[in-house]
Subunit: 265 residues, 2 copies
Amino acid sequence: MALTRCVAVLLIVFLTLSPTSSSQSIIQMITKEETHLSSDGVSGRRRGIDLYCESWRFTVETNDAGSWSRIPEKCADFVKEYITGERYSSESEAVADSSLAYAKSVGLSGNGKDAWVFDIDETLLSNVPYYAIHGFGSEIFDESSFDEWVDLAEAPALTASLRLYKGLQELGFTIILLTGRAEFQRNCTGINLQYAGYSNWERLILRGDSDHGKTASVYKSEKRKELEDEGYVIHGNSGDQWSDLTGFAVATRSFKLPNSMYFIA
Amino acid sequence: MALTRCVAVLLIVFLTLSPTSSSQSIIQMITKEETHLSSDGVSGRRRGIDLYCESWRFTVETNDAGSWSRIPEKCADFVKEYITGERYSSESEAVADSSLAYAKSVGLSGNGKDAWVFDIDETLLSNVPYYAIHGFGSEIFDESSFDEWVDLAEAPALTASLRLYKGLQELGFTIILLTGRAEFQRNCTGINLQYAGYSNWERLILRGDSDHGKTASVYKSEKRKELEDEGYVIHGNSGDQWSDLTGFAVATRSFKLPNSMYFIA
């Protein structure tokens, strides 16, 4: 408001004194002020939406939100900017740092049974190229087009997770991959992982026929329990969904990666 | 600020309009641009720190960070602005909304055993007035000065939690308060809760002599187990620490409130 008055006063001063030589610079200054004002107005509304979307994201990342099928409509731009901006990768790096700090503190048995369990989608591999052409979570999930994308085996690594993966291998952890992808996707998943830079995992566990219809939380808990029964100690578990991490047979430490695009129960 | 800028711009206009001043005005405009650039430089560095602190906060709120004793030194301003700004209350309101949406979906037995467990500090009561004069988490926790603050019984309610509390009572939930505060603080805690607007809780559970030395997670799990053994069904649990919510005898749904100021194991 004060700025609006300021622009008005400037205009009066300009008209009263009516110079010719510097009129252009003054007009440019006024235009600049107006642009600034207009952009302030826009960013005021934008800040309100950002505040709403930040708070929504808090409830998603802490598992407070419960089940949801699509990002809020008004958060489409917010999520797009978050995912494609520097925050998503920065948060992923911070999670990798926390994971590695813990991993270094673990006393390993050295018998090959010191396990770290990784989820795949949005944990080791990034499907952002797919979601970028599907509204970053603002469209209802379409399984058939996603399966076509998976079949291409072109998903890049999450850079932070690749660093963590290699770091864990250097420390001597045995890597187990536990994914909600189905058995028929075993081949393309393995090819994609290698294409993205991952290698030497101990086991790749996918949903078999008997796992269909189970929630991710139940299916993954059952598989972790089987690993424990085989003698594995699951020191760490990394996943972008709470259903990767909770249930039973949970790891000593679980690491939640960010994902503002979709929810899996 | 806007008025100061207005005066500065007016000054430039007068200098611009004087016969000999067009070059001077250009210099001043350039100076102004440089100031703007320089302020952008400052906010550029600030953005870098904010990005770091946002990412740190992500690891804290998702329980990825593990144990920590103090907020990172460079995040002191960030945490202060977060707590005193609109985000902290907005996130708290979003958590209350998620909690209430779930609560409304619960089929209550109506036998008085439908329980909702609340933590107290930074969940029902806000100690921000205390932390505001102790660096918002940038100082090491000092138990004796904190106990003096607790004894004053002047902590205000977290507005969002008071709304949730009353909403749950209207729905018919039995409210159980489970706090890490000690038995000797029972009196001032009850007085403070009533001063802040809370009433009609079923039970207030504090650390007894046998609970000292236990982690909050173990102590609170044991107390929840005792409640279950008495026939309570713990439908919901609200707390600002993961140690309020995890362990055993966990609630059907747990709701993590934000807290960037301190960590309790």
